[in-house]
Structures are given as C-alpha cells and as structure tokens.
C-alpha cells in the first residue's frame, strides 16, 4: 500500500498529527514504569490524549484527501521518510527527566500551535484545536511542575534534568525552520518561536537550569521526512502486526 498525501492543507496537518502520534507512542512506553502509581496513571492519560488527538487529525486529513485512506492506513502503512513529526518527540525515554523535558518542550510549543489553529479555516480543525487546548493546558501545567520539582529538588535531579535539557535542545531549532506551508497555514510563525523562547528562558532561570548555546546543526529537516535513528525502531515495533498480516482485520 502506497500512501499518498496530495493536498497542501493535508500535508500541513499531517505534521501535527504525526507529532502527536509519535509522542503518544513514546509516552505509552512509560506504562508500568512510572516513579509511582499516580504518575504512571498520569502518563497513560497523556498518551491517551495524544493518540486521540492524532486519530482525530488523521480523520480530518482523510476527509480532505477524499477518503482514500483510513486513519490506520496513515499510521501503520507509511515508512520513515513518509512521516513528518518533529524529531524532538521521537527521542527516547532515557530517564524520567528526558520524558518530562520532552513533554514540556512539546507542551509549550503545542500550546501556541493549537492556539493558532483556532483561527484555521477548516472548521473541523478549529473544533479539534478547542478540545486539544484544554488537554494541553493541563499537560503543560503538569510537565512544568515536574521541571520545577526536578530542577529544584536534589542535586542529582538537577543534574539529570540539565543533561536531558542539553540533549533535547538539539532538536528544538527544527521546530522553527518554517517553510512555505507553515507560513501559509500558521497565523504567525515567529510568535510560536518567541513564545517558546520566552517561557523556556524564564522557567530555566527559576529552576537553576542553563540553556546552552546550540551551534548550527547539520541535520536534515523533518518537513522533508528526515528523522533520527530512533524513528525506524519505533515504527517497526508500532507497525509490526498490520505489516506482518496485511490481509487481517483487527
């Protein structure tokens, strides 16, 4: 099955859907691995929100594309180079600090992204954005709280947080490499970047975390379907069943 996405609007939206999906999959890995039961349940919740968000967006994309493919087709039958999520969300759960920094970086970004989608022409996208923003508001306050706990908790937690931040910052500049599609559909690309930087800088200052200079990176862009090495492994696990049994219905 060769999945195609032809309409510009769909090509733009699939980036957002893919980002939710892949982060949902990463968060699902944390099930039964939380620091305590309450947090385990909370991480499953976050994952459920992200999958739900992705599913609804794929449905909208499918409609825009004339119902050629189902939401499951988009999820289970595209190869690595046909995925357009930001690389940040495919980074692994090295420890709890990585999980929370990745989530917080995403939440701050997604908050502005979905706020701008409230002005989207397609009313279904608008409706979805309204619902998603409620989820993000909660997720954002939760991930931010964890950054405070880890940053200001113990020396060890501050160190681990700093390491996670240093690694994950590498994948942030890509968020703001706006192309023509972004510029066409976002109301104000620069504002997404400004908002992100303003919040991160002010929080980092309060929690005793340094934001190191990230040099210009020779890294190909997610908008062209380029990913880190982690992505292939993630997809091969996620897509295994429908690929191994192409005739089966689940």
């Amino acid at each position: 099955m060769k999945i195609t996405i032809n309409k510009e609007e769909a090509k733009f939206l699939v980036r957002i859907a893919d980002t939710s999906l892949i982060l949902g999959q990463r968060m699902a890995e944390m099930c039964s691995k939380g620091p305590y039961l309450e947090e385990d349940i909370a991480m499953s919740n976050a994952s459920l929100d992200l999958f739900g968000r992705a599913e609804e967006m794929y449905k909208i994309i499918s409609k825009i594309e004339g119902n050629q493919f189902s939401e499951d087709d988009y999820v289970f039958h595209r190869n690595e180079r046909e995925y357009y999520n930001i690389k940040l969300v495919e980074q692994p759960n090295v420890d709890f600090a990585w999980t929370m920094v990745r989530q917080y970086f995403y939440d701050v970004y997604a908050k502005e992204v979905y706020t701008q989608l409230l002005q989207f022409e397609n009313s279904e996208v608008k409706g979805l954005a309204e619902k998603v923003l409620k989820e993000i508001k909660y997720s954002h306050s939760k991930s931010k709280n964890w950054l405070y706990r880890l940053g200001l908790g113990t020396e060890e937690s501050n160190n681990r947080l700093q390491i996670a931040v240093d690694h994950l910052l590498k994948y942030v500049s890509e968020l703001f490499n706006w192309d023509d599609l972004d510029k066409k559909y976002f109301i104000n690309c620069d504002q997404i970047e400004t908002q992100w930087n303003t919040e991160i800088d002010s929080v980092f200052e309060e929690i005793n975390i340094k934001r190191k200079e990230v040099p210009p990176l020779s890294m190909r862009d997610c908008r062209d379907g380029f990913h880190s090495e982690h992505m292939g492994h993630l997809l091969s696990i996620m897509q295994y069943l429908p690929r191994a049994y192409p005739d089966a219905k689940w």
Binding site: P35, F96, L241
Partner: protein
C-alpha cells in the same frame, strides 16, 4: 468473649459491614490485608503482560482501548492499596512485600503474552474469571473492600467485553488469526480456571474466611459459574476448549471438566512459571530507576512547604 468481640460477631452475623474504626480480631485484619494487598498486587503486575502488546497494538482504536484498560488496572491497584491502608499497613510496606516475594499476586500473570490474540484471551478469560470472583466479593464483610469491588466490577465487565471483541475479530478473521485465537485459548484456559484457587477439599484459607464472610462462595462454586458462562462463548467463536473430557451434564445442567494439572499450578505459584522472575524484576527496576525522582519530589515539597510556612 469481651464486648468488642461480641459486637464484631454481631456485625458479621447480621450481614452488616465491618468498618475501619470497628474493633476486629487481629486475624480478621491480617486475612483482609493479605487478600486485599494480593488483589492490589495482581492488578499492578497484571499491567505487564498486557503492556507487552501496548506498543504493537494493530489499530489506533485497539491501542487506545488497551491503554485505557491497563490504566484502569493501575487505578484499581491504587484504590485497593488505599483500602488495605485502612487496616493499618502502608503502601510502601506492601510494595516491599511484593518485591521480596513475601506477598503473592495472581499466578496467571506469570504466563507470557506471545501473540495479539493473548490480549484477547486475557481480557476474555482472565478478566472474566476475575469478575466472577469480584462480583461475589461485593458482599464481603469488610466495608471498604466491598465498596471497592462494586466500583471495580463496573470497569472489569468492560474489560472482559474488550477481550471478547478481540477474540471475535481474531476467530472470525483470517486462518492465521483464527489459529492465533485457538492457540491463546489453549494456553490460557486451564490457568484461568485455576485462578479460582485449589479445590474446596484442598483450600487452606477456606473455613475461617467463610465464617467471617470475607469469602462468600467457595472456589469450586465460583469456578463452575465461570465455566458454564464461558464454554458457550468459546462455541460461538468456533474455538475448541482444550479439554477432551469436557461434557455437559444434562442432569445438573453444568459443564464438567477433566482434571487440572495442579502440579503446574503449584510450581508456578512457587516461582517457577515462565515469567515470575521477569515480572518482579520489572517492578523492582521501575521502582529503583525512579528513586531519584521520588527523592526530588519529596525534597521539593519540603522546600516549598517551608516557603509557604
């Protein structure tokens, strides 16, 4: 008999509920702690065999349903730990007992889930067996446990339907899918029946628990109810129950099974099942790997409380 014991006996006799503030015999307290914490641990360890397929669920829908189900189980575990805490034991103590092997959990979770059909079989058979037991426990004499069961049963029946739905799509799917469904039933049937525990003639905890109305119906009685309910469901799926002595007794109107392999049951309970070590190791690893997170949260809480004060 002093007046406290008399009051306690009266509660049991009148079929009322024992509440945390009430006096109770030490053995009643201990039996409840043992049973409730074992139940809580089962919910928590049970997350693992299902979690084994979470990342490989074959559709967005099945992924979300499975995740929600595992999350429910975590919630049940949390709820049951809280119930046990009303009897004077802390969650930390219970978790330490689980990790040291002092406390048990349902032996069924020591079996591996090796195909997607196993996720169906676990929901259908394991949750199905659990519900039969838990419905009966809604009438248990310890109030908080009884109320927990009422709430938990509502979610469990959804879990069983979810499992049966997977079995339907597998059994009515391609030849390969049907084969996976049959294979899952072959492996989970007998362990699911043994979840009800030893035969009444061999059950060590039976007598006193029944008298105190902690347990309301016998193992064999509950097991029979499950068998009678489940055999027609397997027939509807077109699957064969792996028991060549299985037959319907027209007189009693019950399904009769062949003998179970109790040697295997006890061997798995003793720790020699396929995944006993893996389940506990996983739990310990998650606990240890995150010790620094709990310390950080505690340190932060202590600091911010000072600031507030």
């Amino acid at each position: 008999m002093d007046k406290f014991e008399e009051a306690f006996n009266k509660i049991i006799e009148k079929d009322r509920k024992v509440e945390p503030r009430d006096w109770m015999p030490e053995k009643y307290r201990q039996t409840n702690i043992r049973q409730i914490s074992q139940h809580a641990h089962s919910e928590i360890i049970g997350m693992q065999p299902e979690g084994n397929w979470l990342l490989r669920a074959p559709s967005l829908r099945s992924k979300q349903v499975l995740l929600a189900k595992i999350q429910d189980e975590a919630g049940h575990g949390l709820y049951l730990y809280s119930v046990a805490e009303t009897l004077g034991i802390s969650r930390q103590e219970m978790i330490a007992q689980l990790q040291s092997g002092e406390a048990k959990y349902s032996s069924i979770f020591n079996y591996p889930t090796v195909s997607w059909a196993d996720i169906g079989a676990v929901g259908w058979l394991v949750d199905g067996a659990a519900i039969v037991n838990q419905v009966s426990l809604q009438r248990t004499s310890y109030g908080p446990y009884s109320r927990a069961m009422v709430r938990i049963c509502k979610e469990e029946s959804f879990h069983q339907r979810q499992g049966y739905e997977i079995m339907c799509s597998m059994a009515f799917g391609t030849a390969e899918q049907k084969e996976m469904a049959q294979d899952a039933l072959n492996r989970f049937w007998e362990p699911a029946l043994m979840m009800f525990g030893p035969h009444d003639s061999d059950s060590v905890h039976k007598g006193q628990s029944m008298e105190w109305k902690i347990k309301r119906e016998s193992n064999d009685h509950l097991r029979q109810r499950f068998i009678d309910r489940t055999v027609p469901q397997a027939q509807y799926l077109g699957l064969t129950i792996p028991d060549d002595q299985l037959k319907f007794n027209e007189e009693t109107q019950h399904w009769e099974t062949g003998p179970f392999n109790w040697d295997e049951f006890w061997n798995v309970v003793k720790g020699n099942g396929p995944c006993n070590q893996e389940r506990i190791d996983h739990h310990i690893a998650a606990h240890k790997d995150n010790e620094w997170v709990r310390e950080a949260a505690a340190a932060y809480a202590a600091k911010t409380e000072l600031e507030v004060a």
